[in-house]
């Protein structure tokens, strides 16, 4: 199985280093479970029209150590509800990375990406050649390859599918 390329527009550029994703919906909303409500809240403090402007497949751009702190799941549940296809960042906080890969949500480490994009540029992640392309500007950058485990997890659509795919392993039960 091969991963489909990620292709979409840059829905937002998170310029802060060590960005705490809880801010996407606001900490006071972190206990909300309804994806629709979380989708409406996502980035609404920064851009009240964010949810209306996003199209399925659009992507997010992050700076270094994206997801630092105690990253909770609701912010990206909201983003996925809006159709966001993945996050491309200079680098990721390991806890955030693990959590979102387990949800089957593509995360791409791409050094230099921040300087290579503007909001609404058309971009693409080509997994086969491990390349980031900015179709609006023509800039391309190498991405960091996924580990085998992370690639399998994304191909399987997340943790549950991945564990089913690992049927050669003996189960505990």
């Amino acid at each position: 199985m091969a991963l489909d390329n990620l292709k979409g527009r840059v829905a937002w550029v998170f310029e802060d280093e060590d960005f705490d994703v809880d801010q996407i919906v606001g900490v006071k909303n972190i206990k909300i479970k309804d994806p629709v409500e979380l989708g409406k809240l996502a980035m609404s403090a920064e851009d009240p029209e964010f949810a209306a402007k996003v199209r399925p497949g659009d992507l997010l751009i992050g700076n270094h150590n994206f997801g630092y702190g105690h990253p909770h799941y609701p912010p990206m549940i909201g983003m996925r509800q809006l159709g966001i296809g993945g996050v491309i960042a200079e680098s990721f906080s390991p806890g955030y990375w693990r959590g979102e890969i387990a949800m089957g949500f593509p995360q791409v480490a791409c050094p230099g990406v921040l300087a290579a994009v503007n909001r609404w540029d058309e971009i693409e992640i080509d997994w086969a050649s491990s390349t980031f392309h900015n179709h609006t500007t023509g800039v391309s950058l190498p991405i960091e390859p996924l580990s085998d485990g992370d690639r399998l997890m994304l191909e399987a659509g997340g943790l549950v599918g991945y564990l089913h795919a690992r049927d050669k392993e003996e189960t505990v039960g």
Partner: protein, 420 residues
Amino acid sequence: MGYTIAEKILARVSENGAVRAGDEVLAKPDFVIAYDFPGYTDVIFKQMEEDFGIDKVAEPDRYALFIDHMVPAATTQEEELHQLTRDWGAKNKVPVYERKGIGHQVAAELGYATPGAFVVHFDGHISQLGTFGTLAIGVRRHLLEAFVKERIKFKVPETTRIDLTGTLQPGVTARDVFHHIVRVLGPRGCRGHVMELGGDTIDNMSLEGRQSINCLAMFTGAITALMNPDEKALTYMKERARLDIDPLFSDPDATYAARHEIDVSALEPIIVVPPSPADTRNLSEFAGTEVQVGYLGSCASGRVEDLEIAADVLEGHKVKDGFQLNVIPTSKEIMEVAAERGIISRLINAGAFISSSSCDYCFGRMGVMRAGQKAVSTGTLNVRGRMGSPDSEIYIVNAAAVAAAAIEGRIADPRPYLKG
């Protein structure tokens, strides 16, 4: 070239002859630990049964559950979640520890921090088991993998070695040392790595202090922290360790991603300014800032020496009228020791509110702040809304500084209170 302790532990549990950082292995955790929390354990239990048809785990002694959040239950739903956990534990013969204290601490007390063992949890603060030479990693939702499969797929991490040198000044604690590490190396100084600590400062530090430092490793970007277990750690674990395995140690010529030496002899009490766990300053810069709430506790800093230094600061003083000082010992065992030594009564006499061990003050379920309030805290995190209103503020300081602020109602240097 030699191997790091993390590489050796992962080699042992993956039954590979040797592994190096970067290798992907299938590793069998010696212990799989979780606390019950809505959306975590209840979902895991459901997925095990419905998605994988597992109605009983095969090796129940490898698993442990802690009921340490929402203790005591305040709603019917919370109590129902706890009952689900108790029932699952009983059905699977998996031990459930309840009202014993904060699980990351109690796990050490109960010997899950066996030197040389590999432990997984979904919460990153389990890293404090590294004090005893245990590789303990918060794997987030991947914990399901450890509940469903015997072995988990794991990439052997690189290790960043930090040697701490020098003697701490009175009133400067392990908490300050950790936040100073973040100040020096930055919030991604150990990103994705194991933070391995040593040096004469660590050698001379109590196990409690080491637990404080290791607990907070994630704020350097590390996936966990480790120390080579010394006589102090091995002696503590001798009677408690649940497995009979040989401790492991980094080789002198181990390969590290980076090495740092940090001198802490001139270190002053630290303050971590909201809303980032990385914004580390000298406390003196903020002395005089009015604060209304003090929290002394958490998996990072509510141990006997924390309680004791706070009692020493408060000796001969009272908590300022209107200031709310919440003191929550990290575990029942710690509370018992502190009570036997008279520390608890000294704190009570000074005006502290003491409550039994619980995670709830750290994440704003108890002792909640309203908009506009400011707290000094030994909790783990100071992001907006962590302890109540998003318009309240949390300043992270050491236990002595919480006590000094309680006396003055403003951020204060604890050192003058500790001079004979």
